[in-house]
């Protein structure tokens, strides 16, 4: 297919990848009070780690297990109601880790107010607080137009896709994923940018997300070719 009509970006999209290291804080919570108090004090990178760990470690699972807080509420605290509310926190709707932290703390404190007892987790089931340290590296892949973008999406590692979709939006607080921003600002692809921004990446595997991104980009190329020939 002739794609010479595709608009070219003034600034190419450079794909980065990320690798991370998990740091231990040495902090642990035995009950909901300690959990809420520590959550209020720890850096945002702790909140990020415990809401994204499963996603990174279970790239092959969909639906993946819930965030660490929900898992702990279910397995250690045996509190199915709290676990369900924590699992239902829709991370995609939060623009900052501060807002996400406030929501999680609010759910825990609401539950504490309703529960009559303040039980401790069994010994050995304490919650251990950790944080992610991200190292971001440039990959050799770049895209100047939609075709190159789609081709690069096939080649980069899932860690690269993870970085531009999850890390950029929430952790680096870019507000929107890097792909949508570039497509809109550099190629004027408003519709495609919105379509990608509206995906809920938390409900599919990273490979599934890659396929959806490629499909959206390729559909847009077909549309563009058809309107060019019309």
């Amino acid at each position: 297919m002739d794609q010479s009509h595709l608009p070219r970006a003034k600034h190419s999209f450079r794909f980065f990848t990320h690798v991370d290291l998990t740091e231990l804080t040495g902090l642990r919570a035995r009950n909901l009070r300690e959990m809420a108090d520590i959550l209020k004090a720890v850096p945002g990178s702790v909140i990020y780690h415990h809401t994204h760990r499963f996603l990174k470690q279970h790239q092959y699972l969909s639906p993946e297990p819930p965030n660490d807080f929900a898992w702990w509420a279910a397995e250690a605290m045996q509190d199915a109601r709290l676990a369900e509310r924590l699992a239902a926190v829709d991370t995609v709707n939060f623009k900052t880790l501060r807002e996400l932290r406030e929501k999680i703390v609010a759910i825990i404190e609401d539950r504490m107010a309703k529960r009559k007892t303040a039980a401790d987790a069994p010994e050995g089931m304490e919650f251990h607080f950790m944080k992610s340290v991200s190292f971001i590296l440039p990959t050799p892949y770049q895209a100047g137009d939609l075709r190159e973008f789609s081709e690069a999406l096939r080649k980069v590692s899932v860690h690269s896709i993870y970085h531009h979709v999850f890390e950029a939006r929430l952790r680096l607080e870019h507000g929107v994923n890097d792909f949508s921003r570039w497509l809109e600002e550099e190629l004027g692809e408003m519709v495609l940018a919105v379509e990608i921004a509206q995906l809920d990446p938390y409900t599919c595997t990273l490979e599934g997300l890659r396929s959806r991104l490629i499909t959206l980009a390729e559909n847009r190329m077909i549309e563009s070719a058809e309107s060019h020939h019309a």
Partner: protein, 405 residues
Amino acid sequence: MLEQYAPIVGAGVIDDLRLIAKKLAGRVVRNVNSTAVGGGVAEILNRMVPLCKELGVDARWDVIKGGEQFYAVTKKIHNALHGATQEFSPSDWDLYWQTQELNAAQMDLNADILFIHDPQPAGLIVKKTPGKGRWIWRCHIDLSSPDLAVWNALKPVVERYDASVFSAPAFSQVLSIQQVLISPSIDPLSDKNRDLTQEEVAAICDRLQIPRDRPLITQVSRFDYLKDPVGVIEAFRMVRERIDCRLLLVGGSADDDPEGAKVLAEVRDRAADDPDILILCLPPTSHVEINAIQRASDIIVQKSIREGFGLTVSEALWKGKPVIAGAVGGIPLQITHKHSGILTHSVEGTAYWLKQLLQSPDFARKLGENGREHVRDNFLLTRHLREYLMLFLSLDHPGKDVVYL
């Protein structure tokens, strides 16, 4: 050598390793531990050092020297850090520090990074010079409930390091220095884990006289109360009331382990003359045999009551088998309950899940597939190597949560 891992983990993972290692090119990383052969640390270093070199990092490995009395003291320190109460005399600590001084005086400790493994050589930190080399203490021990007197003696020593590394979250302590979580790993190319053909598996099972005409439930672990082999027999008997199956308990010969021999005798007594319970004692070099046995099994059990990291779970998951394991030590890092395996807390729970998995082969197969993928992403040597490289790089960026390289 690194390229051999590409078909298993994907070329992208090897590319990432090369990309990261470029940032460390030529740096000298000097590992120090207490033994060149035997034990998990030596096994890891034997694999890691050549791979680091292949990636352009100047990795080296030295071993401290000490007499029998020194190693008797460090054995006591090791046991105390694991939680056992030990008697220490002031001369024990004197000997520990004298040996550190002696080694520090004799060893070449020039390096960009000094990577010191476990308590035996931890005191070499006395040689730390400001501005010359960074020091990391790698703790391979379960520090979740240490003897506080010994830990309080060691803690100020550890806090002189630039960073520390632990294998599981529960092993971490409140420390004034950076603490990093790096789990151990398995080598997918080793005899214990490499792919075997069905013919190889069948030949080994025939040689060891393991029949395969009924579902086979297996636990591979030394004969130790903490691995609860008797509990496994009890769970098996509850299952066999309803389902036709066999149990295989595989362990070491326990010739030089008095407690192991006692546990083995008890296991044999409990098994009595039940023809469906097989007990197999193998020499410690039987890696390929263990590999074949795991592949021949339908369900693998690791019913530990207490565990360090419990890497045998990853070995079993790597074979794509559904695993039922005790929720202790590092096992919950390897198994997410009902996603990548089953976590249990009792004999009854183990029996319940054995029945469920034997009766629901699709679910069991899915657990096995998920477990293998979880190990591929998180517990193979390549991930371990990547995290060591990241750890070395992190020393250049203290206190930063996001680092652009």
